[in-house]
């Protein structure tokens, strides 16, 4: 295993889904259900059984729009406000309208949501306006249940193949993808009529404070490969300057899970044990307040549970130590920290792109279509804001259905064999060298530069230095990178995605000359929000081989927002800056 093998296979399918984490399996299932005659392939860099952000399941739904608890209108409104108005509402509304049917379907799959004594979904109220939190105390079986469905529907699964580039036909339509085996470096050309990208967040962009390359908030396999591939295929990417930054347990770097512990009475506190967050919505504004407190004399920030009854803490631990990031119990044990006795130190995560938590993703409409014909995106890498796990499932379903409909209408597009030949040369270049820089060193340097120059507070001159330094690393990548086996080749290809994402982060951040979304896009030399010029999306894409950004108008709202409601975000902002 891991030795280089010369090999090339070409396969043909109707719908190709890339990424077998959360959105991907649902997209593949829905495409197949839409038309069982279609040939649906699910490609995965790891193994679908336990891949992606929900490898060990999820502790709950943060954004369940369940009849009787919240309405799609209400939800759409709240997401619009939390994103400071920069939202195309149609995909958000579509998600909100369909997610309950997906919850019911997941329930039938055997995915266990919390139910009350009468067997009804047990939603927890966290927000004032609507109730969206549905705990999953036994949510560790999510992937297993999905995998079973995929087998039953006879979806063709290709594990341990990493997609490197998308294939496009002459007129720009999508034609498939090129992939490389992560244990043998054999090549796979997948021709397809439609392609759905479900490749997760760009979560390996910044370097965690621990310095451990894989100690990231996101699953480190989510290295932004989808963002990079979409970019190189000519798709537009939206609002990349709206970074993902999350509150987390310091060093462990896992989520603090306020959504789990919150309904039990836990909260985020400063060193005095007092609450300090003014913002009502999970947003960049909330993260700015978090950041300010961390830097203040009342810092750092803690997760406070020690005021809760020991039985209640036990109940919370039962969930937190079993689902999503279950090793955190082990982390606390080794540190000798106990929720019952002391507050637990928190910090903020490294930066990344992730629409699951913020709004930075490949631009999609309400059918999950990107700007490239035949190419779809769903989950953490698509631009539907704050869509979390349930958004990945729901939008994956939307993408799968639409991609299946299109695939049954069209012929298989041609692709350029020369492109594949050149892609093999590019991918295998580091395998041809005898000597050079290994991928782990290149990666450490690139990500350290991201931290030094690109993370907020953002400063123009620093970001420009960052661009120049990252260009040097890219040159090293292209001329001196060496890999000794197929496993290292996979890591090297991930570094290529990381470099692309770093460039996109810098470019998008420099383009928007204002501050918006709290910490996510806090530009120190443009400290004010400028609605006159920047109340719009920014789209980044590759035009004639060059990275380009442009403005895009926000589509008229489906659910109107009163001026007073919109200013809710600003009111909180002003209060906190006092």
């Amino acid at each position: 295993m891991d030795n280089f093998v010369e090999g090339l296979t070409e396969v043909t399918c109707d719908v190709l889904v890339i990424g077998g984490g959360t959105a991907g399996p649902m997209a593949a299932l829905k495409a197949k259900q839409k038309n069982p005659a279609l040939n649906v392939v699910l490609l995965e860099k790891a193994n679908v059984k336990r891949s992606g952000a929900i490898s060990m399941g999820m502790d709950g739904l943060n954004n369940a729009v369940v009849p009787g608890y919240a309405t799609p209108e209400q939800y759409t409104k709240e997401i619009t406000i939390a994103n400071d108005g920069i939202v195309d509402q149609a995909p958000v509304y579509k998600y909100a309208s369909r997610c309950y049917e997906i919850i019911e379907e997941l329930d039938r799959f055997g995915i266990r949501f919390q139910k009350n004594a009468n067997g009804d979904f047990d939603l927890k109220k966290v927000h004032h306006l609507g109730t969206y939190v549905l705990p999953m105390p036994n949510g560790d079986t999510v992937k297993k249940a999905l995998y079973r469905q995929l087998k039953r529907e006879r979806i063709l699964i290709s594990n341990r193949f990493m997609a490197t580039r998308l294939l496009t036909a002459r007129e720009g339509r999508i034609a498939g993808a090129v992939a490389v085996n992560t244990r043998s470096a054999e090549f796979l050309v997948l021709r397809a009529k439609t392609v759905i990208l479900c490749m997760g967040a760009a979560g390996r962009l910044g370097l965690p404070h621990s310095g451990y390359l894989f100690g990231t908030y996101e699953n480190p396999t989510n290295s932004g490969d989808g963002y990079a591939m979409a970019y190189h295929a000519g798709a537009a990417l939206a609002n990349l300057e709206c970074y993902q930054i999350n509150p987390l347990i310091k060093d462990y770097n896992g989520p603090a899970c306020a959504y789990v512990a919150g309904p039990f009475g836990a909260y985020t506190a400063n060193s005095e044990g007092k609450r300090f967050i003014e913002s009502d919505y999970w947003s960049g504004q909330m993260m700015q307040e978090f950041y300010n407190e961390l830097q203040s004399g009342k810092g750092p920030v803690f997760l406070k549970l020690n005021h809760l009854h020991p039985d209640t803490v036990g109940e919370i631990e039962e969930i937190l130590h079993k689902v999503e990031r279950p090793s955190r119990g082990r982390f606390h044990e080794a540190r000798g920290t106990d929720y019952r006795e002391k507050m637990i130190e928190m910090h903020i995560s490294e930066i990344g792109f992730c629409s699951g938590h913020s709004a930075s993703g490949v631009f999609v409409d309400e059918f999950a279509r990107t700007t490239v014909p035949g190419l779809y995106a769903a989950g953490d890498m698509a631009s539907v804001p704050h869509n979390y796990m349930l958004g990945a499932f729901t939008n994956g379903a939307v993408a799968g259905e639409h991609a299946a409909e299109v695939a049954q209408e069209i012929d298989l597009p041609d692709y350029d064999p020369d492109f594949v030949r050149l892609e093999r040369v590019r991918v295998l270049a580091p395998t041809r060298r005898e000597d050079g820089i290994p991928p782990n060193q290149l990666e450490y340097k690139a990500r350290r530069l991201v931290n030094d120059y690109l993370q907020p507070p953002k400063v123009t001159a620093k970001m420009q230095i960052g661009q120049a330094r990252l260009a040097d690393v890219r040159e090293d990548f292209e001329t001196a990178l060496v890999v000794r086996n197929a496993h290292e080749l996979m890591r090297a290809l991930e570094v290529s995605s990381i470099l692309d994402c770093a460039d996109m982060a810098a470019h998008a951040s420099l383009y928007r000359t204002e501050s918006r979304w709290g910490l996510y896009h806090h530009r120190v030399d443009y400290p004010d929000k400028d609605d006159d010029n920047w109340f719009c999306h920014t789209l980044l894409s590759k035009v004639d081989g060059r990275m380009t950004s442009e403005k895009r108008a926000i589509q008229p709202y489906v659910v109107p927002i009163e001026t007073e409601e919109r200013s809710a975000y600003d009111r909180l902002r002003v209060l906190n800056q006092a």
Partner: protein
């Protein structure tokens, strides 16, 4: 420039006495998202080959014999 060997202590530990990889089991290797586990040619048992761990636990949870333990990587501990 030649490559040097930099040792690291790895977080995933396998109990050889319990591991049944030599009987054909590949569960932990299959489920690792980072693909860092391998079966040793020498012992026929699973071991952590690459120090690239997200301490996510599928290897431990899915191991049919309870042979795998996931520790927190030293730098985070």
């Amino acid at each position: 420039m030649p490559l040097a060997l930099s040792p690291t202590t790895v977080p995933v530990v396998v109990d050889d006495a319990k591991c049944i990889a030599d009987k054909g089991c590949t569960v932990c290797v299959d489920v690792c998202p980072l693909d860092v586990l391998r079966i040793s040619d020498l012992t026929g048992k699973a071991y952590m080959k690459f120090d690239e761990c997200w301490y996510c636990m599928p290897c431990e949870t899915d191991c049919p014999t309870g042979a795998v333990t996931v520790n927190i990587p030293y730098l985070l501990r």
